[in-house]
């Protein structure tokens, strides 16, 4: 039965206009893609999607087919044609049978979809959670904080806007918000879950295919909702372990004069009022933890690639790239900025 269904899905899918248009535009796999699952949950959803699209396409074709037939075959009349009142006199049993049959068919198809949907929902909930990784996500206007929990307190570490997770191992995300409602969504891995202030939600998922997947806040959350992205790096356990180990370390000590100056600037100006760097006196939590900033691919929640140039431009005037962001512009001299960036780039 499943095989037949899958065969039918494969046979009819090209009919779906979306696929045709997608082909016409030459779209290929992109950083966020519902239909390119990288884990069991997204895959379950994709199977349900395929079934639903096939059923819907058939219904759509049937309704339009009937309509085209009517337009093609039925006689024409103009207003001089007297209205046909004979239908009041005799029951239209043929039409009644057709309409009744169509209604019954619709109900059966809908029931099929309801059952498929509920079964998929159940499959999503039944992810095995053995040996799961626990990550607490806290959403802020407009960035993500991630705290990797561990039974050993010394193993807990915090990072921001970029998660690494081991392939094949389930992850339990606890989701919280510090301000307004946000929504956590990495399309290639799972559906979304809202982060509502005053509540904690959980999302369980597993990624099987290594790669870098992009996620984005999906609930409108204010001025910079557009630039509240996160990256999920899925890698083998062998690659994940050293990364996690690295994240647990305090920031490396500056090893030259310029970096030394950069760190002093960081601690002596407004930077330290919002950001934390483990191993220094900076421990504020209002902005992302920067202990291992240099290990991330992007800055400002996916707004810019993490290059020294971008970092300098960002620090000079964040409002140019992310108007409304809570980080103010700085009035450091070129020299000072260079030193600060040199220090930040060393935080690997």
């Amino acid at each position: 039965m499943k095989g037949i269904l899958r065969g039918a899905v494969r046979a009819v899918q090209p009919v779906f206009a979306g696929a045709l248009i997608a082909a016409a535009f030459g779209l290929q796999a992109q950083p966020q893609d519902v239909l390119a699952p990288a884990g069991p949950q997204a895959a379950h959803i994709q199977s349900l999607w395929n079934l639903t699209v096939v059923v819907c396409s058939i219904v759509f074709a049937a309704v339009l087919g009937a309509l085209v037939y009517v337009l093609w075959r039925r006689p024409r009349a103009d207003i001089s044609a007297l209205p046909d009142l004979s239908v009041h006199m005799k029951p239209e049993s043929a039409a009644m049978r057709s309409v009744g049959g169509a209604v019954v068919a619709s109900v059966l198809l809908l029931l099929l979809l309801i059952v498929a949907s509920v079964l998929t929902d159940r499959a999503l909930a039944h992810l095995s959670l053995r040996d799961a990784l626990h990550v607490q996500i806290t959403a802020n206007q407009w960035w993500w904080e991630a705290r990797y929990d561990d039974e050993q307190a010394s193993n807990v570490f915090t990072t921001a806007n970029e998660l690494h997770i081991p392939a094949g191992r389930p992850v339990i995300f606890s989701l919280r918000s510090n301000d307004v409602i946000h929504s956590f969504w990495v399309p290639n891995l799972h559906g979304k879950k809202d982060l509502i202030p005053g509540r904690t939600a959980t999302l369980q998922l597993q990624a099987d295919r290594p790669g870098v997947y992009r996620g984005q806040c999906a609930e409108f959350c204010g001025l910079q909702h557009s630039f509240m992205a996160l990256r999920v790096v899925v890698e083998s356990q062998a690659q994940y372990e050293p990364w996690a180990q690295g994240q647990r370390q305090p920031a490396p000590e500056p090893n030259d004069e310029s970096k030394q100056r950069g760190r002093d600037l960081f601690l002596g100006t407004s930077c330290a009022m919002c950001h934390a760097i483990q191993g220094t006196d900076a421990s504020a939590r209002r902005g992302p933890d920067l202990t291992h900033l240099a290990s991330r691919q992007t800055i400002a929640a996916g707004t810019l690639h993490n290059t020294p140039d971008n970092l300098a431009r960002w620090i000079r005037n964040p409002q140019q790239f992310k108007p409304g962001a809570n980080m103010p512009a700085t009035n450091l001299s070129d020299d000072e900025l260079k030193a600060l960036v040199a220090y930040l780039v060393s935080l690997s």
Binding site: G18, I21, A22, L27, Q28, P31, Q32, V34, L35, A42, H44, I45, L48, W49, T52, F60, A66, L67, V70, L71, P75, R76, A77, D78, P83, L85, V87, E92, A95, S98, V99, V103, S106, V107, L110, L113, I114, S117, V118, T120, D121, A125, V180, S183, P187, G191, K193, I196, G198, R199, A201, T202, C217, A218, E219, F220, G222, L223, H225, S226
Partner: protein, 654 residues
């Protein structure tokens, strides 16, 4: 000391009644009695339902154009990645204004506006019930809309979306007055909508022509009756919600503040308990238009009248049971999710029943493919596609992926434009000759249709794909590396085509007023009562109220036995007298004297608006603002000697 003479004025002679068929003297007297007064004050005193309806329609069309221009601005910003045309602050105002305008200032009121013109004509009445309240509802609506746009032009337009989720719309994250204007706009429009619902329900229940039993009411009237009941049940929920929001913002209550044991999710439940029925109270009038247009152009009565009525009612009931499908991502218990999935999918059944009945009507009819029918055919294409993506959204797992993405933007535009705006455009082409006495230009109309149809699909189909590619809603821009540029560019081109088509439509509306081909009373050969009167109808609609023996009275006149009465004789020609009939069978019940034109509904609406707008700035406005409202309403309802005298004369003679 009560003066007895005041209660019992000297008996006046009974005003003369109309003859059947009405004489020229009857016509002249009735026209004089029922028409709106002339002059400057007269303009503000108008209460004739056709006058109010035309103003209402024009106003909603103005808001539609404004909301559309805002949409074009958004599309230009999204046309290419990392575009710098519009910044986030303005963009957030734009999409909030677009949604608010289209939902509160266009889609719901335009349906009520057109129905207060058509319903009295379709049920054979001389007026809507409560004509002064009808005028008041219009003015309140106008003032509310003007307030919102004044705020927007002053850069204090709402910026938390048309749904204003808390806490983003709460006092902490939306300081300033922007969201307050939004919340008060809700108060304005909902007040107007509730009053219109009362007008519509009472008109349909009590003012139908004798003989028009419930099972003979035109389907459009049924649709509007169902819609009006839905308004009564849905709107209080959003008024409650928005009042709570205003109080949180203005006087420091904590309904929605989790830090003080309030709840952010409470807002979503209240809002969507209104918000989902809202969609259907836009869609159901659209179904009504189709049920009016299709039989006329298929040259036969509708197939499955009873099933159609029951489907409308079933849709209305079910629509209150599926609001949670807007909240699937908020961590719900499993049982709840399954229930709302099932309810959300099964609401497709009554819509399917109607679609099948229309197809059956066409299948067994003879087709007259005039302009309104083109829009009906487009409905089948667009709405069915939108309905099917709705089935996708009803499924929890699928919704978790596409919720809050452009897939939903595509879906809701397919449903709302396909289900309501295309039928509405068809309805305007269909009834414009009734409103003005002239047909709209067919050539321009066909250009309008094809530009609209092609532009619509170009604009919104790619959005399905954008959603699947992860483009979330309400983003003011996106990086080039996301690969969304091409599809967005296509969508923007489609939006521009829609803009061009709306411009053609406006030109057509304007030019056809004077240059259109004269229509005569019944240009399409329709069967319902509005086609039995002149185009445009006289101030009184029907000089003699018709007696109804079937569902399509105009079609069924031919085979009347001569002994049956065709119309009602003896209603006053020099007083505003209307026949009131029973709810079920429309048996004549009594005669009702209708009120005279007066500027006080206009003045009362002004006072009400001052109260609403004042309370944005200080809670004390609720206190001092109530004084002018009370004074204006008192004068509005104060009985006048001469009117009382006529009333008594009519009662005594009956």
């Amino acid at each position: 000391m009560i003066q007895v003479q005041d209660l019992e004025p000297a008996p006046a002679p009974r005003p003369p009644g109309n003859a059947v068929p009405p004489t020229q003297a009857d016509r002249d007297a009735l026209e004089h009695t029922w028409r709106d007064p002339q002059g400057f004050v007269g303009w503000f005193s108008a209460i004739n339902h056709k006058t109010i309806s035309k103003r209402f329609l024009l106003t909603t069309f103005g808001f539609f154009v404004a909301g559309g221009l805002i949409a074009v601005a958004m599309r230009l910003q999204l046309m290419r990645p990392a575009n710098g045309l519009i910044g986030p602050d303005l963009y957030n105002q734009l999409f909030s204004m677009h949604g608010t305008t289209m939902m509160f200032l266009f889609a719901v009121p335009v349906m009520q506006a057109i129905s207060i013109y058509l319903i009295p004509l379709m049920v054979g009445a001389r007026s809507v019930a409560f004509p002064r309240m009808n005028a008041y509802a219009y003015w309140v609506f106008l003032f509310g809309g003007l307030m919102l746009y004044a705020a927007f032009l002053l850069n204090i337009g709402p910026d938390a979306g048309w749904f204003s989720y808390v806490p983003l719309a709460g006092p902490e994250y939306a300081p300033g007055k922007r969201v307050d204007f939004w919340a008060q706009l809700v108060t304005f429009t909902e007040l107007s909508a509730l009053l219109e619902a009362i007008v519509i329900i009472t008109t349909v229940f009590k003012l139908r022509a004798p003989g028009m039993a419930l099972n003979r009411i035109p389907l459009f009237v049924w649709a509007m009756l169902v819609t009006a009941f839905m308004v009564l049940f849905a709107m209080p929920s959003v008024m409650l919600a928005s009042t709570g929001l205003i109080m949180d913002r203005l006087v420091g209550t904590h309904f929605y503040n989790p830090a003080q044991n309030g709840d952010a999710l409470l807002w979503q439940h209240l809002f969507w308990f209104f918000g989902h029925p809202e969609v259907y109270l836009i869609f159901i009038p659209g179904l009504g238009f189709l049920s009016a247009i299709i039989p006329t152009f298929a040259r036969r009565p509708i197939f499955g009248y009873t099933a159609m009525v029951l489907s409308l009612i079933a849709t209305a009931f079910l629509s209150f049971g599926l609001w949670v499908h807007h909240m699937f991502a908020t961590n719900l218990p499993e049982v709840g999710k399954s229930f709302f999935t099932a309810a959300s999918m099964l609401i497709a059944v009554p819509s399917a029943v109607q679609i099948f009945c229309w197809i059956a009507t066409l299948w067994t009819g003879r087709l007259n493919l005039k302009l309104p029918m083109l829009f009906v055919l487009a409905f089948f294409f667009i709405l069915v596609l939108g309905g099917l993506t709705g089935v996708i959204l009803a499924s929890v797992p699928l919704d978790l992926q596409v919720h809050d993405t452009y897939f939903v933007v595509a879906h809701l535009h397919y449903v709302l434009l396909g289900g309501a705006v295309f039928p509405l455009a068809g309805a305007v082409y269909y009834w414009y000759p009734k409103f003005t006495g002239r047909l709209m230009n067919e050539r321009l109309g066909r250009w309008n249709f094809w530009l609209f149809f092609i532009g619509f699909n170009l604009a919104f189909f790619p959005m399905h794909l954008l959603g699947l590619k992860g483009m979330t809603r309400r983003v003011y821009t996106y990086p080039a590396e996301m690969g969304w540029g091409m599809l967005n560019f296509t969508a923007t081109m489609g939006a521009l085509l829609i803009g061009a088509s709306v411009m053609l439509f406006a030109i057509n509306l304007w030019r056809s007023r004077t240059r259109g081909q004269p229509a005569g009373p019944d240009p399409w050969g329709g069967g319902t009562l509005e086609w039995a009167t002149a185009s445009p109808p006289s101030a009184v609609n029907f000089e003699a109220i018709p007696v109804v023996y079937g569902r399509d009275p105009v079609w069924e006149t031919a085979d009347h036995p001569p002994s049956r009465p065709e119309a009602v004789a003896g209603l006053a020609t020099t007083a505003r007298e209307q026949l009131v009939t029973s709810v079920l069978d429309a048996q004549p019940d009594h005669r009702q004297q209708f009120p005279q034109p007066t500027p006080w509904p206009f003045i009362s609406a002004g006072a009400t608006s001052a109260l609403f707008i004042g309370s944005i700035f200080t809670p004390w406005a609720v206190v001092w603002g109530a004084v002018p409202v009370a004074i204006a309403l008192t004068i509005w309802f104060w009985p006048r000697h001469d009117e009382t005298a006529v009333n008594v004369a009519l009662e005594k003679s009956a």
